[in-house]
Structures are given as C-alpha cells and as structure tokens.
C-alpha cells in the first residue's frame, strides 16, 4: 500500500510539472503521441486512448477541474477505438469511399501541430522585435499659450495678486455659516391651534386655520401643520370633509386620554 502511494505521488509530481504545458486536449494528445514515438498518421488508438484516459484520471486525483474539451476528445477517442474494433466488411474495404475513422482527429492534430510550430517562429520574431527600441511620441498639446507683446512682470504680478484676492474672498464666504435657533415649536403651535379653535366655537375651516395675519415664515406654517397632524393623531381634533375637494372642517374634540407631545 505504502509503496503504491509513493508511486502515486510521484506520478502526481510528474503531472503538476507537465500540466501547465498543455494548452488543451489536442496538445496533450500530441504529447502522448510523441512520447510513444508514434506516427501521427498511424496512431495506435487503443494504446493512446488508455493513456489519455489515465491522464484524465490522474488529473481527477489531483482534484483538478477537467475542462469539458478534454472529455470531448476522450469521447472521440473511444468512438474511434470502437469503430476500429468492428470488422470491416469486404465490400466496404474495396470501396474507395471508405474513411479511416481516425481521419478527422488526425487532421485536427496535424493542423494543430502546424500552428504550434509556427507559433514558435512567432515567438522568435516577437523577441527580435523587442530588441528594437523607440521613444515615446512627443506629446502634442492641443492648446498653446502665447504671451502677448508688451507683457511685463508687473502685469503678471498684478494678475496673480487679483487671483489670490479672489481666492481669499471665496474662503471667507465659505467660513460664514448661519445658525438659526428654532423659533417655533410643535408644543406652542398645539396650544395656538387649540386656542384658535376654541375661539371659533370648536370648528374651523382648514384653510382659515392657516390664514395667519400678515407675512408668515414657512417655518411657522410647517410647524403649525405638524402640530395639527399631531392633534388629529391623538384625537383631540378631528377632520371631516363632506364632498370631494370641498372644505375640510377641523373640529375640536376636547382633551383625549393620550397626551400630545
């Protein structure tokens, strides 16, 4: 057992070393063919298939994800193997249109090999080209600034001073911030509303309720409205409307059990 494990780990090492060399299943297949010193045009399918599948199993043992492409080629190999095991009928043998079941795969391997070889040449060309160096393009500024005639240092200084002054102003503006204290509170407004309603015998039109004397700040209106909502919520004031878009009547219901804020 121990010996077997040892052997396994050795093949595993061998594999990890090899694996990054393979670009895909065709690459692996070519590697196996070369290793077995086979003629690419006369692949011993049975032998190659078992070696190929062994590789896939070892990849599995290494918990590597086997890409689907590897499985496709495995299936192709098995398909070819089974076809080649079938006896060829005499008539078919003589017929010219007999096709070697390996043909498609061989063609694929041959052209793959062809481009692999030429890719090596590309690599040499790439390296040679990298020996030639050029400079960065001179950056072409779209806008050119020209100083008009008669410009003196004085003018530039003044312009600079102006610029700084403007910056100063901006800075000051930034610092200024108003802090306005809350001038109206909901509590006060509640008292106001209750007082006004009582003055009008407990019932008032909604719009009349907000018909303040003279100029009114938004803050007052908003606070007042919030106060009214609060009153409605606790049931001290009720709102009713007899018809759509008609006037809303606000009625004072007196003190409820729950206190408004």
């Amino acid at each position: 057992m121990a010996q077997e494990n040892k052997q396994n780990s050795r093949t595993a090492e061998h594999l990890t070393f090899k694996l990054d060399q393979f670009e895909g299943p065709l690459d692996l297949l070519l590697h196996l063919i070369k290793q077995n010193e086979m003629d690419i045009y006369d692949i011993q399918v049975a032998e190659i298939t078992s070696q190929y599948i062994d590789y896939l199993h070892q990849m599995q043992d290494l918990r590597l994800d086997i890409a689907g492409e590897y499985l496709v080629i495995a299936a192709t190999l098995l398909n070819i193997k089974s076809k080649m095991l079938l006896p060829v009928e005499q008539e078919q043998q003589v017929e010219e249109d007999y096709v070697d079941p390996r043909e498609d795969l061989v063609q694929q391997l041959v052209s793959h090999q062809l481009y692999q070889e030429v890719a090596a040449k590309f690599h040499v060309m790439e390296k040679q080209r990298m020996e030639l160096f050029s400079r960065e393009q001179v950056v072409n500024e779209d806008v050119t600034y020209e100083v008009s005639e008669g410009t003196t240092i004085d003018l530039l200084q003044k312009a600079f001073a102006k610029l700084m002054a403007r910056k100063q102003v901006k800075k000051i503006k930034k610092i200024k911030r108003k802090i306005i204290p809350e001038r109206y509170t909901i509590k006060e407004e509640i008292e106001n509303i209750e007082h006004t309603l009582k003055m009008h015998k407990g019932t008032m039109n909604f719009t009349d309720l907000f018909d303040f004397d003279g100029e009114v700040e938004v803050e007052k209106v908003v606070t007042s409205f919030l106060a009214l909502l609060e009153l409605v919520r606790v049931g001290r004031v009720s709102a009713s409307q007899e018809e759509n878009n008609g006037p809303i009547l606000m009625t004072y219901e007196g003190k409820a059990e729950e206190d408004a804020i």
Partner: protein, 196 residues
C-alpha cells in the same frame, strides 16, 4: 532650405513609438507618396550604411517608425534596467498564428484548430489591438470575423502579411497523400489491435 529627407526625418523623430503613416507624411510635408517612398528608402539605407548611426527605420504596412539598431539592444536594456518584459503566452501566439494565416476567421474556426475555447483569448488579443473585428460571416448566427492589425505586424517586426513565415502546408499535403495509402493499410492495423 532643408531637404525633404530632413523634413521626413524630423516627423519620424517626433512621432516616436506611435510611428507615422505615409498619408500623414504626405499631408504634412506636401510630398507625394512615390517621392516619399524613395526618400524613406534612402533614409533607411543611410541609417543602415552609417555605422555611427544608432537608428534604424522600420515599417508595418504604411506606418513608419524610428527604432534603435538591434545590436544596441543590450546597451539599451542596461540603461532601462528592466527585466520585466512581458511576452505573449504560447496559447496567445498560437491563436494569433491561426488568425494570421486563416484570416478572416470566426471564433469557432479558431476553436476547432486549437481544440479549446478561445473567446477569452480573442478578447485579450483584441484589447492588445493585435486583432480586430472585420465584418461578419454570411452564415447562421452571422459570427464575427477576425483579422490581424498593423500593430500585429509591428509587434512581430513584419512589414506586411506577405512576410509571415511560410506555413508548411505543402508538407501537409504530401502527408495527406500518404494518408490515402494509409487508408488501405488500415485493415492491417486493425488486425494488430485485435491481437492485443
């Protein structure tokens, strides 16, 4: 008055690694293309003959560029002090080779030869501007066709696609002929396998 050659040289110098096209040269200098060709050839020759000149004129299609002579590479590298020159991976080179020889070609066409999915590789090569899309194949799904760019030529130091190394297809054809005779022998090899 400066010579036309000096004018051309100045523009080549300024354009640097971007290079400059014949059309641009013609528009800026007002020299017609045939005369430009002549001057560029002369300039290239001048650099070549002059052993005290460090420069060399190269071009990919119609884009010309000034570079240092290859013999100076070691010296330049010593100055640049950079060992981290990134080269293309084997897979990228193979994909490029397929596209270069088979262009215009679809992604599926590349996949078939490589036996693996090439979409991400094609995307990478497109980002590197070594290949570009060039229309679509008139077939179901109208797949995109890919071709190599002038930048591809420059990257490999090629002047045009004619300079691609010869693809050994003749050898392939010969071997295809061999295949024919092999077909006839197939029965023999099947018997061998049956014995196993």
């Amino acid at each position: 008055m400066l010579s036309n050659q000096a004018k051309i040289e100045s523009l080549l110098f300024i354009s640097g690694n971007e290079g400059i096209t014949l059309t641009e040269l013609s528009q800026i200098t007002g020299i017609l293309k045939p005369a430009l060709h002549e001057q560029l050839d002369k300039l290239a020759d001048k650099y070549k003959q002059d052993r005290s000149s460090s420069l060399q004129l190269i071009h990919a299609e119609e884009r010309y560029k000034l570079v240092t002579k290859p013999a100076l590479a070691e010296l330049v590298k010593k100055y640049l002090n950079s060992n981290n020159i990134t080269e293309l991976t084997g897979a990228a080179l193979e994909t490029l080779a397929i596209i270069a020889y088979k262009q215009p070609i679809t992604r599926i066409g590349v996949d078939e030869i490589r036996g693996v999915q090439s979409s991400s590789m094609i995307q990478r090569l497109q980002l590197l501007e070594l290949i570009k899309e060039n229309g679509r194949l008139d077939a179901p799904g109208r797949p995109i066709l890919y071709v190599t760019t002038d930048k591809f030529l420059d990257y490999f130091g090629l002047e045009s696609l004619d300079q691609l190394p010869e693809l050994d297809e003749e050898k392939q054809e010969d071997e295809e002929m061999d295949l024919m005779t092999l077909f006839e022998q197939t029965t023999g090899s099947t018997e061998d396998e049956e014995e196993e």
